[in-house]
């Protein structure tokens, strides 16, 4: 049989890896036919809504639900007293702490859940919430972690007298843990003996992932079958099933968790929230399905803040600028409960990636977790477990050191980068960087933006400014970041004891199309499009003929979900491995059909052909049919495979970002003149989707650096709980990005891919921030905390005496 198509044409028809395949999800989404949690409507469904604390720290002295129960449509009101007999008034957190589901005697942050009203519709539920009478007795409020460690006020009375927490000794009643990495004495010695030491406090403020869709769920207990179905905005549906089983006592096979379409996650939807527990209980109590969807204010005030790290740094170097040591002490504000979402052995996530892209021989890191009267959370907002904080810290410290050395910051980076021949590189804080070529990326970036000319233009501008010819300064923001994603190897990464592998199951149908199911869940990343591309390239069936399913725990194989840029590094690897198992069986079938030995056929894009006789072949389509209609000696019928992939290492994507910003000294306003983003995420599966991820991640980074924050006053009132106060950039302010790439494949990943979704958030925040600092560097600015909103920039100029 002759084939008219060339190899390249056959390959293009598959729309496999490397193709900017259009997204299959979009046909539904563009017509408004997505199915998000709030779109789910079940017969007789009730609505739940929370009574929340107006105080940040108070005793709850009484709760009266009578008036609420009298409101038409209100079915029940749950308080901690109702949950206590079930043992559900508290729940375990992902960080080894526990958290109140409903206020048990006191509240620890503003917005904390106090009672749960169940009603026939959302309006009646809101009426019920208004009518619940709660009496509080105010207690002293602590919103500053440094004060918390000195204060006599005990925030967590339930832990009083406990000197040991989930992560070792507690030094104070408001202290959670100390986590140390690296060589303390060695680093102190290096600092003592160094030519130059730069020291700075770098604060990464509290913010929030704020996906456009808030968190929510629908719980439905079928009393007849005893089966609980829980639909929800879960980034980790399988883990949620296990957690629900463990805390409710319902056997795991009697729980089905479904993540439908999710309207963005960014870390917000990893954790387990009181709303889920209350909805499950409400459904069991009422025998009806119960929906709970938080509103925006509840979202910003209660579910999952991010960052809030005070990072004290010291960096040592020779006179020539070779870095010799790095020291960091972080005070981490965790709020009222430790509900951070990190792998168990990493209470400060991967903060120990804070040596960044640099070859730093000696380093030491200590992190102290602290309770305050703020919302719990500490999730990774488009970040792999505190990498954003680590990258911001080191990229600021490099700039501070450059000032100390009076050196160009681009050059300082260059002389300290880990060299390409040093990979795999063992970092001083314990990681093995898999691969990289930082010098090449850096040169590519500096050339692309015309770095030398930019510096000349900036110098001219400063002269003009001093001469009174302009009131605008130019800032050139530089960043070279190294990410650590794809958590992770089961030997050191687990969440609540669940190893962080991931999975894929592929079934080939007789006619040569397929369905694949994964343990992950897309929240906009386009998994249905890109994972089909991996399979298409691996087994030679067109991506268009492959259906992808995720998020239903009754059908999908177990996996740890989607966050920390882990889907491609872990589930993507599982997908390739499962596909390879199928290909191995297909090879045997092909050999049988072609009547040759297994080793005498070879793979050719979408078929196996006889070595040396390419005109004799069997396509995957033919092989698929044969798998179901031929009795092949020694082979079972059918063609399917499953892979649970335990990654041998993390992957280490990296990038070089450069921002040029104009700053108006008198108004504090800024304009992003250009933003260049070079990403190296290893093998590229779908360049269109990668670009989209970079645009989106940079925009989130822009928001964080330039205005977005969760702020509290001294009473613990959240000052930024609406979209009026919490900065989300519109199309009008958002810069236009120039994307670029390099490819250094991961040596240990089956297809060499590293993950990209979070890189732009990790890289862009220091880049924007460094641009602001750079503009004022000639006037003596060393460090100024984010977010750099107009007022704060204006204040920098004022404090530097530029307004006179």
């Amino acid at each position: 049989m002759k084939d008219e198509l060339t190899q390249d044409q056959r390959s293009a028809n598959l729309k496999g890896m490397g193709s900017s395949r259009k997204r299959v999800e979009d046909v539904r989404f563009t017509q408004g036919k997505g199915r998000y949690v709030d779109d789910i409507k079940l017969d007789g469904m009730l609505f739940g809504d929370f009574v929340r604390s107006p105080y940040a720290h108070a005793r709850v002295t009484s709760i009266n639900t009578e008036a609420a129960m009298a409101i038409p449509g209100v079915v029940a009101v749950l308080t901690a007293k109702d949950l206590e007999p079930l043992g559900l008034h508290w729940m375990p957190t992902l960080a080894g702490d526990k958290q109140m589901v409903l206020a048990d005697g006191k509240v620890l942050f503003q917005g904390q859940e106090v009672a749960y009203v169940i009603a026939n519709d959302r309006y009646a539920a809101a009426d019920g919430v208004e009518a619940v009478e709660v009496e509080y007795e105010e207690l002293p409020v602590i919103v500053n972690p440094f004060e918390a460690l000195k204060s006599n006020v005990v925030l967590r009375e339930d832990l009083e007298g406990q000197t040991e927490g989930a992560h070792g000794p507690r030094k104070h009643h408001n202290h959670i843990f100390t986590w140390e990495q690296g060589d303390k004495e060695g680093t102190e010695k290096v600092l003592e003996e160094a030519d130059v030491v730069a020291e700075e406090m770098v604060y990464y403020h509290r913010t929030h992932p704020c996906p456009l869709e808030t968190c929510g769920c629908v719980a439905s207990m079928d009393k007849v079958t005893g089966k609980l179905t829980l639909y929800g905005t879960f980034q980790a549906p399988h883990a949620i099933r296990t957690v629900v089983s463990l805390i409710s006592g319902i056997a795991e096979h009697n729980i089905r968790v479904v993540s439908p379409d999710i309207g963005g996650g960014f870390g917000n939807k990893v954790g387990a929230y009181a709303g889920y527990v209350c909805s499950v209980v409400a459904s069991i109590v009422t025998g009806k399905p119960v929906k709970w969807v938080e509103d925006r204010m509840e979202n910003l005030m209660t579910t999952a803040f991010a960052r809030d790290y005070w990072m004290q740094g010291k960096i040592a170097a020779t006179k020539e600028g070779k870095i010799t040591g790095l020291w960091c002490h972080t005070t981490a504000d965790h709020g009222g409960f430790d509900a951070c979402a990190d792998p168990t052995k990493f209470p400060a996530g991967f903060m120990n990636i804070c040596t960044g892209s640099y070859d730093i021989p000696t380093a030491y890191l200590a992190v102290d977790g602290v309770y305050t009267n703020k919302a719990p959370g500490g999730v990774s907002y488009r970040c792999s477990f505190r990498v954003t904080e680590a990258a911001y810290f080191i990229e600021r410290m490099i700039e501070v050191l450059a000032i100390e050395l009076n050196m160009d910051a681009a050059e300082l980076r260059r002389i300290n980068f880990i060299k390409s021949d040093q990979f795999p590189y063992q970092s001083a804080l314990g990681w093995e960087y898999d691969s990289g070529d930082y010098h090449r990326a850096w040169d590519q970036a500096l050339n692309a933006v015309g770095y030398k000319e930019l510096r000349e233009e900036q110098a001219q501008r400063i002269e003009d400014f001093k001469a009174g010819k302009t009131r605008k300064l130019i800032g050139i923001g530089l960043t070279h970041f190294t990410e650590i994603v794809g958590a992770g190897p089961v030997k050191n990464c687990d969440i609540l004891g669940l190893g962080m592998f991931d999975s894929c199951e592929i079934r080939i149908h007789p006619t040569g199309s397929a369905i694949a199911r994964l343990g992950t869940i897309s929240q906009g990343q386009g998994h249905a499009t890109t994972f089909a591309q991996i399979i298409a390239s691996e087994i030679g069936l067109p991506a268009d003929d492959i259906t992808l399913e995720e998020g239903d725990t009754d059908t999908a194989p177990y996996g740890l979900g989607t966050y920390g840029s882990r889907s491609t590094p872990v589930a993507g690897a599982a997908t390739a491995m499962a596909a390879r198992k199928i290909r191995a069986k297909a090879q045997m079938i092909a050999a049988y059909l072609l009547e040759v030995h297994d080793d005498d056929v070879e793979w050719d894009v979408d078929r196996f052909s006889v070595k040396g006789a390419p005109e004799r072949f069997k396509t995957m389509k033919e092989i698929a049919f044969a798998a179901y209609n031929q009795a092949i000696p020694g082979l079972e019928p059918g063609l399917e495979a499953v892979s649970y992939y335990d990654p041998p290492n993390m992957t280490y994507p990296f990038g070089a970002y450069i921002c040029v910003m104009e700053i108006d000294v008198d108004t504090g306003e800024h304009e992003i003149r250009s933003f260049y983003a070079l990403d190296d995420c290893g093998t590229r599966i779908n360049p269109m989707i990668i670009d989209g991820q970079v645009h989106g991640g940079c925009t989130e980074g822009y928001a964080i650096a330039m205005g977005q924050e969760i702020a509290y006053d001294e009473m613990g009132n959240c000052k930024s709980a609406t979209l009026m106060d919490f900065f989300l950039p519109t199309a009008w302010e958002t810069p236009t990005y120039t994307t670029d790439f390099a490819v250094t494949p991961s040596p240990h990943h089956p297809i060499g891919a590293k993950g990209v979704g979070e890189s732009p958030n990790v890289g862009s925040v220091p880049c924007f921030s460094n641009a602001v600092h750079d503009a004022f560097r000639p006037f003596g600015l060393v460090q100024s905390h984010m977010p750099h909103d107009h007022w704060r920039i204006w204040k920098i100029a004022k404090d530097l005496g530029l307004h006179s």
Partner: protein, 164 residues
């Protein structure tokens, strides 16, 4: 609370129902009519996920009582699909130019873009960015949304020309 009778024309179809005076248009669309294209992202007029066309103007349906919309024409994203079920021009261009990721803002974006292009068939990039500033997206960084809308304008103009 006593209910009132409301009548609307939604995506070309006469619909009616009972609603409390305080019922918001977005809730009436989503819960009474099962039109779940328009989404809820804030309920405070900031995000634009709930954007619909009301008598030829873009409105945020979380900030309109259904009572106010009584007797009006409402178009949602569902109404922008072609009669034969294929994607309308703007829907197609959003797909072509990767103007969406999680898809949550998309119905509001497309409905707003539809009105913007009725009002200004030849917008500049600046005009698109300004005209879309009432609709927030957390995923795309807007770059491809802007591209998709400019491409939609070109395509709609070309179609108009061909028809003339």
């Amino acid at each position: 609370m006593s209910k009132m009778h409301v009548k609307l024309n939604v995506n070309g179809q006469e619909v009616e129902g009972l609603a409390e005076p305080r019922t918001l248009l977005i809730h009436f669309l989503r819960e009474n009519l099962n039109i779940t294209g328009p989404h809820i992202g804030c309920e405070t007029s900031h995000c634009g996920a709930c954007t619909v066309d009301l008598n030829g103007k873009s409105v945020k349906s979380c900030t309109v009582f259904v009572a106010q919309a009584n007797g009006s024409d409402v178009t949602t994203v569902e109404g922008l699909t072609n009669d034969d079920g294929s994607l309308g021009v703007i829907q197609e261009m959003f797909r072509e130019h990767h103007g969406l990721q999680c898809g949550f803002c998309t119905p509001g974006m497309i409905t707003r873009a539809h009105r913007l292009l009725q009002e200004n068939p030849n917008p500049t990039e600046e005009e698109v960015r300004f005209g879309m500033a009432g609709n927030l997206c957390r995923c795309t960084g807007y770059q491809n949304i802007v591209k998709a809308i400019l491409a939609s304008a070109d395509m709609m103009n070309a179609q108009k020309e061909a028809a003339e």
